[in-house]
Amino acid sequence: MKTTLSINGSGHDLDLDPRVTLLDALRQHLGLTGSKKGCDHGQCGACTVLVDGRRVNACLTLAVMCEGREVTTIEGLGAPGALSSMQKAFVEHDGYQCGYCTPGQICSATAMLEEAKQGWPSYVSDDLESRPALTREEISERMSGNLCRCAAYPNIVDAIEDVAGSER
């Protein structure tokens, strides 16, 4: 099935089996292996990418469903010589160990800060109606869709706090 995907600002014309997920399209058909496959069932968050600016699990989206949407992957956030502030903060705070969940964590964290800016509450927000303060607990709850088996969680929270603080 012919599909055009817009990824990191450029268009890609693909002919895909409708069964191909966005994640497999990125990894196997476009060579964008920064998005990782940890479970393929939306249970680990390693495949997190942004679709129209929102974080989603690329493993639970069919590529053909993404036509006309803007997909941003870790490769679109920054490159080794030109890292985004979130990517730099992860290096500085050792917010990873093996690195496999890391692109998903960073995509997730980047979008999560936008959600918080829009005033979205979380399950741990005391008050649903006021603007939530991005405490460590709030960051942890909002990042709980990204498993890290190396368990760099406290360092991940440090990195995100750092970026959130400097953007404030």
Partner: protein, 328 residues
């Protein structure tokens, strides 16, 4: 995942027109693709309904809200009217899944989530829900996450949704469009089915019918809570959950709309429990009587026996919390 034809619907009529026994609508896809990868669900055709105009949250004439079927869980939870007037729903949504999944999952899709029963998920296991007549392997197996209320000899699965539990407490109605283009609404309580001897039939949705909206009645003066007990601090399905919309007037309970998750094949509501509470002054003894009625026919399956005392305690604590100021 079996091969399928993919069709993008431009209108609800086009969607229902393409429907049928072997067709599934796909919106968020978070549960459908999960199950299709494992060959638990094997549709011949997927109809992508994401382009349909069902994304609005609108006020109804009677002061309630009409939530389009394609409103994402994130958008619904963050909507200022929901946060203000239907806090139980916002909390329930935020307690479910993860930020990523809530950005994908839709209101209609969430209602139609399949059970998380491990035996349903594994095609090597008999399962009456997946393969009617094959048997239930959860009975006599590892059934820690299974039902204590309303189960049958055919199936002891639970419904995994948090959102639907809150909606059940709020008295929500489901709006359904039939193949002839007409829309009807149905109380959420009537929408779901208990397993009986046909656990494969989970709701009242006919073949090719499409959920177009959920309608919330006008808000009521109340205190609301969604309390979810789970195995880890976040990102786990409910062991038990309680959705409560409670009002106390002049020291007496004036309203106690209660629904329960993690305990049955559908969000559970028992009006006899509410009748015990309404009109009475809140007390531990009263809450115990309510819990007695709720749990009168509760039956554990072995690994899930703990849910019986857990549900009692969680219900009581929730009632205590919501009636606390009045009791003082």
């Amino acid at each position: 995942m079996k091969s399928f034809d993919y069709l993008r619907a431009g209108s609800t009529g086009e969607a229902t027109g393409a429907g049928g026994a072997a067709t599934r609508f796909i919106a968020g896809g978070t549960n459908l693709l999960d199950l299709m990868k494992l060959e638990v669900m094997t549709p011949d055709k997927l109809v992508d309904i994401n382009r349909l105009d069902l994304k609005a949250i609108e006020e109804t004439e009677d002061g309630g809200l009409r939530v389009g079927a394609l409103v994402t869980n994130s958008d619904l939870a963050a909507d200022p009217r929901v946060r203000r007037d239907y806090a139980v729903l916002s909390r329930a949504l935020l307690s479910g899944a993860t930020g990523q999944l809530r950005n994908m999952a839709t209101t209609g899709g969430n209602l139609l989530q399949r059970t998380r029963c491990s035996y349903f998920y594994d095609t090597a296991m008999p399962c009456n829900k997946r393969e009617p007549g094959s048997g239930c392997q959860a009975i006599g197996g590892y059934n820690r996450i299974h039902a204590i209320l309303g189960a049958s000899d055919s199936c002891i699965a639970t419904h995994p949704s948090d959102m639907a539990v809150a909606m059940r407490a709020l008295g929500a109605r489901v709006e359904i469009e039939g193949t002839d283009g007409t829309r009807r609404t149905q109380d959420l309580g009537d929408f779901y089915r208990l397993p009986s001897d046909t656990p494969q039939v989970e709701n009242a949705l006919g073949e090719a019918e499409l959920i177009t909206a959920v309608i919330l009645p006008a808000p009521v003066t109340s205190r609301q809570a969604y309390r979810k007990v789970r195995d880890r601090a976040s990102y786990a399905f409910a062991l038990v959950s309680v959705a409560a919309v409670v009002a106390v007037e002049e020291g007496k309970i004036a309203r106690a709309d209660l629904a329960f998750g993690g305990v049955a094949h559908a969000p559970w509501r028992n009006e006899a429990v509410e009748a015990i509470l309404v009109g009475e002054a809140p007390s531990d003894a009263l809450f115990d009587r309510a819990a007695d009625t709720l749990l009168e026919k509760a039956k554990g399956q072995g690994s899930n026996d703990f849910k019986i005392p857990l549900l009692r305690r969680t219900l009581k604590a929730t009632l205590r919390e919501l009636t606390a100021e009045a009791a003082r």
